[in-house]
Every structure is written in structure tokens, then in C-alpha cells.
Homo-oligomer: 180 residues x 4
Amino acid sequence: MSDNPEKYSLNSGKVASATQEWLAKRGVTREAIAELVHFLQKDYFPDLTQEDCMVHVDAVLSKREVQNAVLTGIQLDILAEEGKLLAPLQDMIKHDESLYGCDEILALSIVNVYGSIGFTNFGYIDKMKPGILVKLNSKDDGEIHTFLDDIVGAIAASAASRIAHRKQAEREGVTTPPLD
Amino acid sequence: MSDNPEKYSLNSGKVASATQEWLAKRGVTREAIAELVHFLQKDYFPDLTQEDCMVHVDAVLSKREVQNAVLTGIQLDILAEEGKLLAPLQDMIKHDESLYGCDEILALSIVNVYGSIGFTNFGYIDKMKPGILVKLNSKDDGEIHTFLDDIVGAIAASAASRIAHRKQAEREGVTTPPLD
Amino acid sequence: MSDNPEKYSLNSGKVASATQEWLAKRGVTREAIAELVHFLQKDYFPDLTQEDCMVHVDAVLSKREVQNAVLTGIQLDILAEEGKLLAPLQDMIKHDESLYGCDEILALSIVNVYGSIGFTNFGYIDKMKPGILVKLNSKDDGEIHTFLDDIVGAIAASAASRIAHRKQAEREGVTTPPLD
Amino acid sequence: MSDNPEKYSLNSGKVASATQEWLAKRGVTREAIAELVHFLQKDYFPDLTQEDCMVHVDAVLSKREVQNAVLTGIQLDILAEEGKLLAPLQDMIKHDESLYGCDEILALSIVNVYGSIGFTNFGYIDKMKPGILVKLNSKDDGEIHTFLDDIVGAIAASAASRIAHRKQAEREGVTTPPLD
């Protein structure tokens, strides 16, 4: 915030809180994402609770690259819902056109932050559509979540990658967290 | 288009022609992109003309992945120009915030179609900003091209990659074009 | 090939044929990859035959980016099998260490060539491991296919993407193939 | 290491120390990478010292994805130098064939960890070849650094991205580091 309205200055706190708010407004809770993470990791770590998963979801959501992708994707979904995009983009996003892949691209940019081991989980969850992903994909209610369903899957896949890294550190008795 | 207005069916021709139109409306001609390609490749292929480059630009623009990225990026630029995005996304795109990287992500999805050899050219041209890229980056005139400048650089880098592949085929006397 | 043995000149034909040979030697036939493609696409295109799929597998394999990834991945698998890599890389590749992701990275470079719509299929098939992928993953026989299993999944996912693009063109009655 | 020689267990400390050792053996010091980072960032942050840059280089090198790419790339360079790869891969890596892009792919997997804002710096430095990059590219001495030159550029670009993120945090007076 600056006294001079023309002077732009990034406010990271606002970007972070907008990410949380926009997800909530679009019906995606941290709990729902944690449930997806649990779905992905429960067979590997039987003791893992949904509570544990939530810690990792929060860490993923604290990354700016993730926040940027969430805000951009939700914005496009909302504009498509309101019919405010120009044709033919409006139609492709509204109908989640199978040859339109910019939603997967933004999702991949999230997965990349935690490394390539997340690709498989992203693709798997995107195809299986457990939990919240079914709801985001039902086109019945007039809501459009072309970007958000991929983004939520990517956040879950990233949190799963983070768990894999941390569990290894625990196994080796490493107590100092890696540098960010 | 179908008799049933509710029935969606992708019209690829419309996506392709919208790509050309939107680029033109935003001040980017095929000639301007061909000039960037020439800038990138002239030292390697001294006989290469800007006319030659245009053929490759057209080929890149005929790819649907490229069209999707062009339309999505330009749409976000236009909406930012009109002040229709929600804060804080509106501010980040309007000011081409350096920690906002979704523009680079869409650009990379273009480069990827012609393979990893284009990454270097993309980064180089994005930093040097020759030709049309200077104009797209001047924020003086109230126009916002946060996405478009990266996208144009990516199209040029992709066309340069395509030239490298074709020149190799010529050198080896291969006459049948590779399968798409 | 040049008269001067010191003078290097890429021979694309040799790269292409080596790709076919190395895949065959490592037990991966075009038929086996076509079967994976069929697994991925049969629900969407009930008339699709495995023969049809093979055409698309061949097209994917004709791309140099794909050939580069195949040769590099198989080479690393072979060297790991022979115990010729340096520790700790030798151990990570030999044991397909879950935190080692360079195999997924090479695979993704294949998927990227046909665009982001292939990410989901890649992740799905990599997790489900149908057909040849089971065999490539069984560590019983002393063979190491840490890279190859991901690469084969990526080729299949890419061929599936190519089918999706072509079927759309057929639906729209487009007869001229897109430029490469 | 385990009492049972057959039992594999990842030792993260060994992976990290091998990364440092292999870089050193191939002639790449932390100082040389820090110099590249300084080259990329000095215009934006005039007070930045090479010492400061080294902290960020170390942080990048502490990431496992980065370590994996470093070890894999250097291993391929060494094997090419010893003539132990199979033709035609041996020739392509030995001669840093311009249509061979797996080196750029591994490099990009490093850049991705710090987000898309690093792409531009990677491409730029790879083209300009300041400092240690000239030496890695001179093919005079029989050494082959086809992978390493891209990898070193990617580490520098990633460190530059990390600096951009941290400087923003400082500007906003954020004192708690983001979660990893």
C-alpha cells in the first residue's frame, strides 16, 4: 500500500489471503484438498491422517507460484461462468473442450514446484476424480470449474510429493528442514 | 455450429482465425514475428530471408496448443487493460509483476511443442527485446501486454526451432516431411 | 557420413533406426505400445483398433525429441543394469528410488510434444500399469527399466493425444493435415 | 547403508555430498556459480555481493531435484568423454548436437523448482555464456560438458529467482521464511 495510488507495490499478504478466499468461495476447502492427499498417500503411509495432510496442503498454498496459478485459473472460470470471455475462448473454457490444455498447463506449473515425482499423482487423480473433484466436474449446476479441478488436483499431488520428501527425511533422522 | 444452440462442437477453423485476428488487433503482425525469428537465426543461416521465416511462423500458429495459449493470454491482457480482473490479480497483470510467472508458463507451453531446443532462444529474446517486443513492453500508452510479449517471443523461438529441424533435414537430403 | 572421420554430422536416419532397435532389444514392441494406447482411448472411440493405434505410435516415434529421450533413458537403464554408473546415482536408478524424478522428466518431454492434454493420460497409465508396463516394472529378472517404463507410458499418452487431435479433424471434415 | 547389503535405503546425505564433489571434480565451484548469479542480478540489486549470491546457490543445491539433475547430467558427460555411450547417442552428446535437447530438459527441471520466472534468465545466460560457461563450452581440451553447462546456467537462474523472491519479502518486511 502506498500513499500514491499510482505507485504499485506487490502486497504478498494480500495475494496469499486472496488465494484462500477465492478457493473457499469456489467451494474448495483445505479439508477437501487434504482428503485428496490422503487418498493418494494412505497406502504408502497407513498412519497418515487427514490432519497431517492439511499441514502439507497449507505449505503448498504458501508458495507464490501456486497462488498465481490458483488466482489466474479461478478468474478465468468465473469470467467463463459470467459469459464475459470472447468467443471462441468462451466456448472452449465453458465446455472444458478436450483439446484446450491451458488448464493442465497451469496445473503443471503447480506440480513442478515440488518436482517431477508429482506428475504421476496429478494424472492419476485427474482421471479418477475422487472426493471434491467429482463435484467440480459435474456441469449440472451452471458452475464452471475447467481450471479449478485441475488446479485442486495439482495442489493435492504437490502435497503428496512434499509428504514423500518429508517422510524420507524422518526415516533418515534428519531434523533440520531443507532450505526453501 | 449446430442447429441446436445448446450443443457445443469445437470449430477449429474459428479458433485458428480468431488467433490471427486477435494478434492483429493487438498490433502483432506475422511480419513482426518473422523479423524476430530472423534476428534469432540469421547468424546460423545467412541466406535465410524474412519471407522464409514467415512460413515457419505460420506453421507454429497452425498448432492448436499455440492458438490456445495466444487466445488465453491476449484475453487476460485485454481484461487487465479494461480493469475487469479481481484484485490482486488485476494489479499483478497490469504491472507485469516480476514474481507473477503465469505469462512465462503459457509461453513455455508454446515453446515445448517444438521441443526443448527452443528454451534458450525464448529466454534470450525475452531479455534482449528486439523489434516488436520493445513496443509490447513500453507501458506508456495504457496498453497491457503482460502475456502477449512472452507469447510472441515464444512463437518466434518455436519458429526458430522448426527452422533448425528443417535445415538439418535439407542437409541430409530428406525430402519427405516428418509426420505431424 | 563424411570422408573425414573427425567431422561430425548428424545422421537422422541412424537416430531413428537406433530408437526402434533399442526399444526392441529392451523388449518393447510397437504392438505393445499400441495396446497401451488402445487401453487409454477405447472408451472414447469404440471403433478404434489396435492397428489404428500403431499408426499413431509410429508418428510419435518419428519425432526427434522422442527419439532423444528414448535413447537417453534406455542408455541409463542399461548402464545401471551393468553396474557402470557411479554411486549414489547407480543405486537410485537401480532401485527406481521414489525421490529420483529424472525418469519422469524425460517422459514429460515426450508428452509435451503433443501438448498438455497428454499429462493426465501419462499419470494415469503410469499408476495403473497395464500391459507391457507391468513387465517393465517387475524387478524380478535383474533387468532395470527405471527410465523405460515412464518413457513407454509417455509414448502411449502422446499417441492418445494425437488420436484426439485427429478425430476432431475428422469430425470437422478437415482433410488437409496440419503443418508439422 | 544397512547391515544387509541387498537392502537399499536412500542416503540423502550421500546424494547431497556427491553433488558437491562431482561439481568440483568437473571444475565448477560454488564461487563460479555465484559469479553467474551476480551477473544476472547486479543491475536489479546494486548492493548484492557475490558472497550474498553464494547463500542462494547453496540453497538451490540443497534441493533433491537439483541434485538428481546434476548427478545424471554429469554422469552422461563423463561417459561421453570416456566414449562409453552407444552410437548414435555417443556422437550426439559428444558433439553437443543442436537437435539433441535432453540437456536443456534436465536444466529446465532445475529452473522449475523456483518457478517460471527463472526461464528468461536461464535462456539469457545460456546464450551469453558469461564466466565459467565459456570454459565449459570450449571443446578444445577434450572435456565434454554438454549437460553441465546447461545445468550450471540453470542453477544460477534458480538462485536468481530465489533472490527475487527474498528481496520482495525483505521489501515487505516479512521476517518468517516461507514454508519449504
